[in-house]
Symmetry: C2
Subunit: 408 residues, 2 copies
């Protein structure tokens, strides 16, 4: 891993075990490196699954495999390969996915469709089946590992391991949720846009879990962007082992369903922020709040137009209160906007309202806000009730350095 992001949390958090989940890692050596790069999670019988995947029109065969298996609702294992995305590899890529599923199914005595698979890394090189199979053999007999080791093993260009936890009371039963995630570049909204895995011991029907995950995704993973580029491999999966012994949740009307949805949403938000905080080259974490838009969807598109604007992102990197670039980004979004009703603030300081700079605008508090690591930009369209929040990072020399010579 390269130098730890300046926005990283101080340490990997203390995460509880999840009953019914055993994590193991191994060296498949997908690249010429000496690190674990294959993660294998064994899930107890009866585990249910939900998931969201990339909107890319050129998805990897792993994504297609997961899309087919998610509606069946049951899971026994997860395999994550790091160092090779296996995307755009034609029939050879599909064969590699099928071989992995068959090998794990044979080992566990389950259906191939109970095996969930992700791969991340360079595009266009078929995943070597021999390395995957040898890696799996090693993983099957490896000792169980902790969350941090698993989180490190799914990473590629990540500069730190990312994990988070949440919990909820379902009736009198406390259920735990743990998530690990990887991602720092090729991050854009419009779906999961990274690899994330959530494990819980809660008992819950897969359809309800899917409904809750989709709802959480919409307000979390779909609201972050690093560089507007959408991966071919993005996947978030949630596995529920049912080992907590709560009365199984089957509908949002069940006692504890609201609490579980809240905990799941909280966990997803933590994980999404961890990805932004590891945005390639990031030196600032930026929250963009848009209100007063024509609709929530319109607010979301305007917020993303700001968050993806290279000129806004470089201004923040330069600690430059260049709010004109925010006006530009609102204007280019193609959404309803009236220049003369528009208000903009940085942090708590109003800089422009009703179409021009505020009377007696003092840049000092804005400059002080921009010197910090956590930046907030607020935009009020002054048109309606639509609102949205998105999160992004700044655009720095670090992003260029990382991406101008990633593969070479």
């Amino acid at each position: 891993m390269t130098q730890r992001s300046p926005l990283a949390p101080e340490a990997f958090p203390d995460l509880p075990p999840i009953a019914g989940v055993t994590m193991r890692v191994a060296r498949a050596r997908y690249k010429n490196w000496d690190r674990c790069d294959l993660t294998y999670a064994e899930l107890a019988e009866g585990t249910v699954v939900a998931g969201v995947t990339t909107q890319s029109k050129c998805p990897s065969p792993e994504v297609e495999w997961c899309r087919d298996a998610i509606p069946l609702g049951s899971a026994r294992a997860l395999v994550v390969n790091a160092g090779n995305a296996n995307a755009f590899t034609g029939h050879r890529g599909r064969a590699a996915v099928e071989a992995i599923a068959a090998k794990v199914a044979n080992h566990l005595g389950c259906l191939p469709s109970d095996v969930f698979i992700s791969s991340t890394g360079v595009i266009g090189v078929p995943l070597p089946v021999d390395k995957a199979e040898a890696g799996l053999e090693a993983a099957f007999t490896a000792p169980a590992c902790g969350w941090e080791e698993a989180a490190n093993t799914i990473g590629t260009t990540d500069t730190y391991a990312k994990g988070a936890r949440a919990s909820a009371m379902i009736g009198s039963t406390r259920v735990e949720l743990v998530g690990i995630i990887k991602g720092s570049g090729m991050i854009a909204p419009d779906m999961a846009t990274m690899l994330g895995y959530i494990f819980t011991d809660a008992a819950i029907e897969p359809k309800l879990l899917q409904q809750m995950l989709s709802a959480a995704n919409k307000r979390t993973f779909s609201c972050i962007t690093v560089d507007s580029d959408t991966s071919t491999s993005d996947t978030v999966l949630a596995f529920a082992t049912g080992k907590a012994g709560n009365a199984p949740l089957a509908s949002m009307d069940d006692a504890g369903a609201d609490a579980f949805q809240a905990a799941l949403g909280d966990l997803c938000l933590q994980l999404a922020h961890l990805v932004v905080r590891d945005g390639e080259g990031a030196s600032k974490f930026i929250e963009i709040n848009v209100e007063g838009a024509d609709s929530d969807a319109s607010a979301h598109r305007i917020a993303l137009s700001i968050a993806n604007s290279p000129l806004v992102k470089t201004a923040i990197a330069g600690q430059d209160a260049n709010w004109g670039r925010v006006v530009m980004a609102v204007g280019k979004a193609g959404e309803p906007a009236d220049r003369d009703k528009l208000s903009i603030r940085f942090g708590v300081t109003q800089v422009a309202s009703a179409g021009l700079a505020v009377e007696g605008y003092d840049e000092a508090p804005v400059a002080a806000h921009l010197k910090g690591q956590d930046i907030e930009i607020g935009v009020d369209l002054g048109l309606g009730e639509g609102r949205a929040t998105v999160w992004t990072c700044d655009l720095t020399h670090g992003y260029i350095s990382i991406n101008a010579d990633y593969r070479s």
Copy 2:
């Protein structure tokens, strides 16, 4: 001006005078600099005008002024202020535009609506009327200047003066076209996306000139992008003085209309390429050709998705044949695409076809192509007859350096 772009032409071209057009420049000192920053073009009586402006929902008052005046079809003067965009400046910005138009109209004895005005520079600071008026006084009595001086005076972050010429035969009369243009950042398609001015001595009806300019714009200025950011001030105006004495063109069926349209299109393409070649921080000029798409519009959107992808642009900067990022950019465009029919080439070398890398792919010729300054990426969707070409530049440390401390 900062260091001249490595993609700049060797020298400013030799451009002929256009009968009926007199260029003058002056120092309005809109910024604390010692350079001419006000350009004043006096146009002969009878000059007609056409124009295209930004699609931004937050346009500058200059853009609104031009939008109102263009349909009236007649022009006597052009004023371009550099160093201050006067955008998002409310009633004070509008008052500045009206004051400039009034002063020039009074000087020439024409209507205010015959005066066309553009401003470019920082957003959010009202254009100082006193400086504009003093600058105009100086310009009225300044000696006529050449095209290169005018091209330098409309520039801001441009690293070189940009001009081009074309000519056409209308019947037995040769007509000349000259254009000057500025722009290097905040360049995105979806309209003019920069300030460009075209002057011709041809006699032509303003409605036909508008039709021809709009058609040329669609294939030239609307097909370039530097950073996906759309300016609040973008404007391209075409002025025709009629002094060549040709039989006036009134419809595309008139003799010479096709030739004039071709010359205008050629001139616009030259000017558009000059802007891309001065893209902030650019080290490579990139042409992206998409074919086999569902429609021309779909091909255009896919081409722009590739051209605006930070990961594609940084890969080219790093001379890295990372064609997986092209797959990613096709996939994220949201347009019809079938991964398994997709083909990609760099220059003349096919790298992937039918959904995977070509058999025996040799990276050497691609690496050699990427070492050059002029890069071509070809994508064949394999679906239909839709095609499009767009032009962009790479994304380098230079872009970050320029934009992380532009205003400060």
